[in-house]
């Protein structure tokens, strides 16, 4: 890494299935102005802006970065859009870190948004991320792709639909502590198991909602960060990996996450994640994906995943809380979602989590996952390690 980089501020909109009170730029402005206010900054403090937005058909407007640039504070400043599907938000953050680490910029705003509520079925659009000639005849989309990874995972890890339901219950409970969370509903294991099957083994309450919203994070050089924030959050490790693995090949998506985490841990000097990391904001839009992270992020061996789920390892009062925010399962404005993970991890290190604050956080982990293994589609995996020191 070049120049050391810290997070000094975060800003989020309230997430809803439809933010009828806001135009798209209104949402970007809401998140951006809140991030500036978080560290008492003004636009004069920002040197460049990185903007994130996922597939445009979700919003139904082409190149909406142009519409939103002014709302992100880009007037007279360098501005670019980054897009890596579901990992858009964390790729935006990575690009902001690269900008600062290079020494060319001191303070960079990362802001990402999405309106998934504009169209009645996002999966119709996500069907069109695959190769149109050899793959699109079979109704592929993100939910049935994850369902396929899940049915494989159930055989490989030995978890059941009940274990998935336990993760869902935990995350819905956590969302009540997050004032920005989209879904704030009481859910029991029985509710999850009895909710309609979407793509077996995934049921409705194993799946994320479609959300409108935006998130912004301000990254700064070491010198500026120390001046701007009472508790700057240091980007101590980061890694990003791309692959074109197709389900059923030797290396599945889980292996990609393992590799990415190992690279980020090495950079951050993390060799025992379970002892060194106090909170995880993982990118898990579906319950089954979260429990597989317990292994791939190095918190346990594969054979112990089920035991950890049953013991409440990732609960707020568990050994290492996973997604105190309620996570992607309760809020998913696609292009912004992976940036929310980084914002929420930073909030934990800053100690600003209020009702969702985990005690004594010195290291927090945020992950992102975009694309989807399948013909014509790559996967993008990101892992960021944030620390107080």
């Amino acid at each position: 890494m070049g120049q050391r980089v810290g997070i000094v501020a975060t800003g989020q909109t309230r997430y809803r299935s439809k933010r009828k009170d806001c135009s798209a730029p209104d949402m970007v402005y809401e998140a951006t102005s809140r991030a500036l206010a978080d560290a008492a900054l003004t636009l004069k403090d920002i040197d460049a802006i990185i903007f994130g937005l996922a597939p445009e058909a979700l919003d139904g407007i082409n190149s909406m970065d142009k519409w939103c640039a002014d709302a992100a504070g880009a007037r007279n400043k360098p501005f670019m859009r980054v897009h890596t599907g579901g990992a858009t938000g964390s790729s935006v953050a990575n690009a902001a870190v690269y900008h600062v680490a290079s020494g060319m910029f001191d303070t960079v705003l990362a802001v990402a948004m999405e309106r998934v509520g504009e169209t009645p079925d996002a999966q119709t659009i996500l069907n069109r991320i695959y190769d149109p000639v050899v793959a699109s005849d079979f109704g592929l989309n993100i939910i049935n792709h994850v369902a396929m990874e899940t049915s494989r995972g159930m055989e490989a890890y030995g978890f059941t639909e009940e274990h998935m339901a336990m993760i869902s219950v935990k995350n819905h409970l956590n969302a009540f502590n997050n004032p920005y969370a989209h879904l704030q509903i009481n859910v029991s294991v029985e509710d999850v198991l009895k909710s309609p099957v979407v793509c077996w083994p995934l049921k409705l309450l194993d799946c994320c909602p479609r959300s409108d919203g935006a998130c912004a994070v301000v990254f700064a050089s070491e010198k500026k960060a120390k001046r701007m924030a009472p508790v700057p959050v240091w980007v101590n490790g980061m890694a990003a990996l791309t692959d074109i693995t197709v389900p059923g090949e030797i290396r599945g998506g889980q292996e990609q996450i393992r590799l990415t985490a190992a690279r980020a841990y090495q950079m951050a000097g993390i060799d025992h994640p379970r002892e060194q990391i106090q909170v995880v904001e993982c990118y898990a839009p579906f319950s089954s994906l979260e429990l597989m992270y317990y292994e791939t992020l190095g918190f346990c061996e594969r054979k112990d995943v089920v035991k950890l789920v049953e013991s409440g390892f990732g609960a707020m009062d568990g050994e290492v809380p996973f997604v105190p925010s309620g996570g992607v399962m309760c809020t998913n404005p696609i292009g912004a979602t992976a940036l929310i993970r980084i914002a929420e991890a930073a909030i934990q290190v800053m100690g600003k989590g209020e009702k969702r604050q985990v005690p004594d956080v010195t290291n927090a982990l945020a992950t992102g996952y975009g694309g989807s293994p399948g013909p014509g589609s790559a996967s993008f995996v990101t892992v960021m390690v944030l620390g107080k020191k």
Binding site: K20, D21, A57, G60, P120, D121, Q123, T124, N127, Y130, D131, P132, V133, V134, A135, D137, F138, G139, L140, N141, I143, N144, A147, M148, E149, T150, S151, R152, E155, P196, V197, V198, C199, W200, P201, L202, I244, V246, P247, G248, E249, I250, G374, P375
Partner: protein, 161 residues
Amino acid sequence: MSDNIELLSIPGKWDLTYNYTAGETISKFLIEIRDNARIMATKCNQCNRVIVPPRSYCERCFISIKDNWVELEPTGTLEAYTIVTYKFEGLPDPPYIIGYFRLKGADTTIPHFLTGIDLSDLEFARKKIKVGLPVRLIFKNRGQREGRMTDFRIEPLQHDR
């Protein structure tokens, strides 16, 4: 924000037409399906991976493999699956099974429907499907094949009816 303001929206629709270009490698693959009812893959002689649907290059060794074709048997195994029970807008009517299938000798998998399984009782159907299930490809008759992945269906190798 004023509390009582009426919040408006206007309808929109994207209705666009495309002709998706298959390219030389996929064209040959689809023409072999259409004209000869056989599955052809490309093989990388450096890492020995057999890739289907074929690619003109090996992304790992980063060399062209566009002229190195091998024929695959129309049998294989189910590697991942889901039973879709939800109606997605513009996608097929449920229920149906989507799977990724590894053809014998291939290192990659192809997506397709798994047919030949009675879906009137989903609980019962689920018990018959497992990763590793042997499957076979069944091609449509010559005149019905149009050079698409839907020129064949995939079903369990053994039928117990």
